[in-house]
């Protein structure tokens, strides 16, 4: 055991003691029971990405662990019945709420809730005779409520995935066909007005090529830019929310998105030029396709407006 490892172990020991001191309810835990958990968490979130992380960084990380939540979960894991009762009492509302959000009906939500508690407690038994539940995966870095919501959401996704695996596969193949063959169901250039069949085919092909180039360009963006694009366009988050997830202000996210637009446009143009397009042709194609898309979106927006006004009338 080298000097650094010994020093880290000291930090873990001190950190465990301080964590117990910070906790309002220790559930009869000792620092020895907490040290393995803290070691695993530090290894996962600090040392895995930076083996030479400073001692200050490690100490700071341990200091920011949620003392009360972590003690409660470790106590539950240790088989403390009182801690388990506390956990259920404090977080049953959170779990039920998350289950309702993830389920389409009340019955499904109730099933999901029961499944969650079973998953947490652990239906299987580990080698040491303790139940092998999901409680072992809570690090204490985030809030316990947030972790429980995440567990519920993942379980719901798993259940949904098991039920619809076949359908998912068909969608995948549809998308692959769209990318490969340039046949988009949205039909970028299929808006009315093109009479000449030859021109129509040509326009469709141009739109498909542009879509393919755009999809490839998005994949070439940096991970953070790609995540921003997907959070904003694909997941429908507002810039403020997307920025919050990325740890930046809304204004920064907006500036970044503007830069991404420019990068994507440049990349798409280059890809199209590589395929034999001239620059004026790419410019014209961008304008025409955007014009058609705008015309496609307007009726949708108008329809939404009518719906909203009708809802308002009914409500009013």
């Amino acid at each position: 055991m080298n000097q650094r490892t010994i020093q880290i172990e000291k930090l873990l020991s001190v950190g465990a003691s301080r964590l117990l001191a910070r906790a309002s309810e220790t559930h009869s835990l000792t620092s020895e029971t907490l040290i393995p958990r803290i070691r695993a968490v530090v290894s996962k979130y600090v040392l895995r990405d930076d083996e030479n992380a400073s001692f200050e960084a490690i100490t700071d990380f341990i200091e920011k662990l949620q003392a009360d939540d972590l003690c409660l979960i470790v106590a539950c894991e240790q088989g403390n019945e009182k801690a388990w009762t506390d956990l259920v009492e404090r977080f049953s509302t959170t779990v039920r709420s998350a289950a309702r959000s993830a389920s389409s009906n009340e019955e499904g939500a109730e099933d999901l809730t029961q499944s969650i508690w079973a998953e947490l407690y652990g239906l299987r038994v580990r080698e040491d005779g303790k139940p092998a539940g999901k409680l072992a995966y809570y690090s204490g870095r985030g809030s316990l409520a947030g972790w429980l919501r995440a567990v519920v959401a993942q379980l719901a996704v798993d259940q949904h995935r098991k039920q619809s695996r076949l359908v998912q596969t068909e969608e995948d193949s549809d998308f692959d066909r769209m990318i490969q063959e340039g046949q988009d169901e949205n039909d970028w250039t299929g808006h009315g007005g093109v009479v000449n069949p030859e021109l129509e085919v040509s326009a469709k092909l141009a739109g498909a090529e542009m879509q393919k180039a755009l999809a490839m360009s998005v994949q070439q963006l940096s991970a953070e830019d790609r995540l921003l694009v997907k959070l904003y366009y694909f997941d429908g988050l507002r810039l403020r929310e997307a920025g919050a997830l990325l740890g930046v202000h809304e204004a920064t996210a907006s500036r970044r998105l503007t830069r991404i637009h420019a990068d994507l446009r440049r990349q798409v143009e280059n890809r199209l030029i590589e395929k034999g397009w001239s620059r004026p042709e790419t410019e014209r194609a961008f304008s025409e396709i955007a014009l058609h898309l705008e015309a496609d979106i307007e009726p949708l927006l108008a329809g939404e407006g009518v719906l909203i006004s009708k809802e308002n009338e009914i409500a009013g």
Binding site: S101, E171, E224, K230, L237, T258
Partner: protein, 402 residues
């Protein structure tokens, strides 16, 4: 143009997103190619930590790379964020720490705080000092202005008893005296009016009057007044000559600031000039007064002096009260070229004029005057319509046109 291009890309990306069913397959494909299968999805703890923004930076970058390509994990993160309202991310919880107080103290004097705090403190100090200086200046003005008002009422009785010296610088008084055609009682009444006017309108004049206690009083004025009151019995001092200006001891000169002193000296010069012109007028009227004093009627006047003095006292009291009532109404004002002027003796003074302000003296017909009125025709109109000395405030400057 750039905005249009951005809009085009925005529309194209939205259209691409509408084919979202395919995005998941693209994500899975990417994850597979990068060595991340479905089994490598982020666990619940990683997802919740990412959604709450509590991960260390290196770990965060790793998860960003996964979330950019994994719709499933991203969906969970999005749901978690929306459920917990992470968009308004709370500050990290304050940990119990013994060094918290010293941390706060240290933070209070840290360079980033001092960088803004020092200029703010300095600016506040400058504003406070300026305010105090301004208050002091105003305070001294008020002293100079209020002193005669306080002393004016008792001055009547004091003067009746002691018959102290006459004022030295009341232009109104000198004007009335020069006329010589009014009765003594009327003259007294006018004197009170002019005194009250002076007290209200002219700080500098007031201060000059106060300072007059130590400045030698021009004797011709006093003599002329005494000569007009020739009905006194055997040189006894007249008891019907209340003089509001003869107030008790004025405030110390130190209370007057330099501006007040300058204005007072200026006004004193003006009044002295006016008073110096008085003896010449007096000389013209002297034979008639002398005739009244030394002529045959003198004995009658002397005999009935005490009675007459009593009657004059009554009249003077009446006139004092009357003058106090009517003094506000009787101030003559005129408006020329949009400026309002108040008559003060032979002076026309702009109501906007502050006596502490310096004036530029111009003579009508002088080269300077012609140059000024060429630029400012309004001043020409004022000078033409108002005769005598005019003090006008024009574009922030005070001109004395004589």
């Amino acid at each position: 143009m750039k905005q249009d291009k951005n809009n085009e890309m925005d529309l194209l990306l939205r259209s691409l997103a509408r084919g979202r069913g395919g995005e998941s397959s693209l994500d899975v494909g990417q994850a597979s190619t990068s060595g991340k299968g479905v089994s490598n999805h982020l666990d619940a703890d990683e997802l919740s930590c990412f959604a709450e923004g509590v991960l260390p930076a290196p770990a965060r970058e790793r998860y960003i790379a996964h979330l950019a390509d994994c719709e499933s994990c991203r969906g969970v993160v999005v749901n978690l964020m929306q459920a917990s309202g992470v968009a308004v991310r709370p500050e990290p919880l304050e940990q119990k720490s013994g060094a918290g107080f010293w941390h706060k103290i240290g933070a209070l004097f840290s360079p980033p705080v001092l960088r803004y705090a020092v200029p703010v403190v300095a600016l506040t100090a400058v504003i406070a000092i300026s305010f105090l200086a301004f208050r002091q200046q105003r305070g001294s003005d008020l002293v100079a202005r209020n002193e005669p008002i306080i002393s004016s009422a008792p001055a009547v009785t004091n003067e009746q008893q002691s018959g102290s010296a006459l004022p030295q610088s009341s232009l109104e008084t000198t004007t009335k005296l020069r006329s010589g055609a009014e009765s003594p009682a009327q003259a007294d009444s006018d004197r009170f009016k002019s005194a009250s006017k002076d007290e209200r309108t002219s700080v500098a004049q007031g201060s000059a009057t106060i300072a007059g206690a130590s400045v030698p009083t021009p004797s011709p004025l006093k003599d002329s007044m005494q000569s007009k009151q020739g009905y006194t019995v055997d040189g006894s001092r007249p008891v019907f000559a209340p003089e509001p200006q003869a107030a008790p001891a004025p405030p110390p000169k130190a209370a007057l600031n330099e501006v007040d002193k300058a204005a007072a000296v200026q006004k004193e010069e003006v009044s002295r000039r006016e008073v110096q012109a008085l003896p010449r007028e007096e000389e013209k009227n002297q034979p008639r007064d002398d005739a009244g004093r030394h002529g045959p009627a003198r004995s009658n006047t002397t005999l009935s002096g005490s009675k007459r003095a009593e009657g004059l006292m009554t009249e003077s009291r009446d006139s004092v009260s009357k003058s106090k009532k009517d003094s506000d109404d009787e101030v003559e004002t005129r408006t020329v070229s949009g400026r309002r002027f108040r008559r003060q003796g032979s002076l026309w003074i702009d109501t906007a004029y502050d006596s502490s302000r310096g004036t530029i003296t111009l003579s009508r017909g002088s080269e300077q005057f012609r140059a000024l009125v060429a630029d400012e025709p309004g001043i020409r109109t004022i000078a033409e319509k108002l005769d005598g000395v005019v003090i006008v405030v024009w574009k922030g400057r005070a001109y004395r046109i004589q």
